[in-house]
Symmetry: C2
Subunit: 339 residues, 2 copies
DNA sequence: CTTAGCGGATCAAAGGTTTTCATCGAGGAG
DNA sequence: CTCCTCGATGAAAACCTTTGATCCGCTAAG
């Protein structure tokens, strides 16, 4: 071993006075190794500052020690949405904790999809975490075909057979929000929903409907799509104000839209919460605490969600035979001043 | 090759009727190969859906085809700050375009630093992009010691000798902002600054000072640290209102702080821009367009910055001999209603 | 006295690619 | 006709690790 080259297992073994195989066993915590050998090897490792060569290891074990984290989102949304940063951060932490690398891919264009396919099919990662909430997302069908352990965030569109996913209880959260408004004595409650090509939005709609015992026709008049954007929230609120006279409460399917809705209400001269009570969804602190008034919201714990996803994926990577599993995470109402 | 196993170069070579060596040459676009061989190999590749094994390749070339992207930030800020998501997104895109993997690491705790060190020293990536704006950041000293091509975002604290970085023209932007306020006829201009442990904040302070031709003592009375947070911006503004009677304009070193400052001004009953003109920094759309009134701000193009960083790193990876180089990106003033 | 068993170390093969070096054949110069 | 040159190709080494098979020295059982 030259001065500058990184030490190899061979060097470690030589210094410890054992064979390469034994040194390897020490590193992999095999039980079949004597205490003396163990100590000698460990000493050599620290003395030399040895780092296993990942490529060599991957070559023989057929494991890379890396997982891909895929986001499929229309461009503009992804970087306005604070949620995104949060998910990434949670993912980075959870993966670091189990010492696996996070390879991040944002797939948007068709080219990106091809690239992702090549990459995943190429066996460059051991598994993947997929965030793809939209209807008929090409990415999902691509990933689904691959013989690769995958855990989805939320329900991807289409058949769920054999898939692994961790979802928030969107419907339950929506019921929570709506029941809360009812318990405040509100009688005319409306809903600013997310786009109908996202299942989370649909689940929230369903929660709203069922909490009020509405059939589809009755519900339709009380709901308006805000597209999960601030501006959309504002417009949807305006539309509802025009269409539903006497409305006294609104459940908005995201905090960002709720911020828009509050603006709209203010313009219309309605006081919150006196005239109209508002409940959001996400409990995104950076938003919810800075609206006026501060926003009552349904908390979904993204950190927890991602942590569960990682745990599940790790399990999949270990024993090959975990059967399809869906996890549902609870949501809770956080009261502030808007309702 | 069995049915299910991924095809290897050997399989490709066999099918094309050439040797492994020749097949490899084709894949690496070596000139020393006959047209027929080239065609045969390419045909075999597509027929088999061959994907080079990255681990095997890395083992021999000592290149991984991946770079690390490191963020060093105190936890809370990183996921409040929309800037973060933007940088990541830009990085993902730019790296994907040159077909290198992005390994994301958020380093915060001491453990994280150790992990990052191990990882980088272990030769698991070819280079790194580092975002570490704070004074005496441990991460920078760690990375600096490594024999690894690194490009920094902005100036890291300490000696810049031999370092590669892409910075925004913070000082120039600050001059722009201040000159603009002067040109509006404002006479008593103050500054809400960022924390003095970030060089970008200091550069902006310097721009402010030099545009007004102030010495340090005179300047000190007109500046207040807002810590790059919304709440800090609000407090700093209040302090300045108390200390500098008759102030008629303020240059705030970030949009987030400016949002806080606007709240403070409103509370104090000052009209913007009539009584006090306000200019922010960052031009973060999600903020600047939604304050009231909408915020005039200095734009720094993060996408561009990251793109340059990636380009520079790629260059470093190719020819080993790019001499130390600092790039400075221009800033521009975006006029809205607050000034 | 033979042999099975056991803890533990070692040998050697395997994993897929790049790259150096040697070889081979064809064509040009002498 | 021989000798060289040159371009294309192939054989084999090297990269570093894991792991199944093997081996060694001993004890305990038959």
């Amino acid at each position: 071993m030259s001065i500058h080259a990184r030490p190899t297992l061979e060097d470690v073994a030589a210094r410890a006075g054992v064979s390469r195989a034994t040194a390897s066993r020490v590193l992999n915590a095999s039980p079949r190794v004597s205490p003396e050998a163990l100590e000698a090897v460990n000493a050599a490792v620290t003395a030399l500052g040895y780092q296993p060569n990942r490529a060599a290891r991957a070559l023989v074990t057929r494991r890379t020690g890396a997982v891909a984290v895929l986001f499929s989102e229309p461009e503009p949304k992804i970087f306005d949405d604070p949620h995104f940063a949060r998910l990434i951060r949670a993912g980075a932490r959870a993966l670091a904790d189990v010492d696996v690398q996070m390879v991040l891919m944002l797939v948007h264009s068709h080219d990106d999809q091809m690239r992702a396919h090549r990459f995943l099919a190429g066996g460059h990662v051991d598994g993947a975490l997929v965030f793809a909430p939209h209807r008929n997302d090409e990415l999902v069908s691509i990933v689904k075909k691959l013989p690769l352990p995958v855990v989805y965030a939320g329900k991807p569109w289409g058949s769920l057979r054999g898939m692994h996913l961790v979802d928030n209880d969107n419907e339950g959260g929506a019921v929570l929000a709506t029941e809360h408004l009812k318990s405040l004595g509100r009688r005319k409650i409306v809903h600013v929903s997310g786009p109908v090509d996202e299942l989370s939005a649909i689940d929230r709609m369903n929660g709203f409907k069922s909490a009020l015992g509405l059939d589809d026709r009755a519900a339709a008049r009380l709901m308006e799509d805000g597209g999960f954007t601030r501006e959309g929230g504002r417009k949807a609120m305006s539309a509802l104000l025009g269409r539903v006279p006497g409305l006294d409460a609104v459940f908005v399917a995201s905090d960002l839209m709720a911020a828009g809705a509050l603006e709209s209400l203010q313009e219309a001269g309605r006081r919150v919460p006196e005239d109209v009570a508002v409940v959001g969804f996400d409990d995104h602190v950076a938003i919810a605490e800075h609206t006026s008034p501060p926003l009552t919201s349904v908390r979904q714990d993204s950190d927890e969600q991602v942590k569960h996803m990682v745990e599940h994926l790790v399990k999949l990577l270990r024993d090959e035979t975990v059967k399809s599993k869906k996890q549902m995470l609870p949501t809770v109402l956080v009261r502030r001043e808007s309702a």
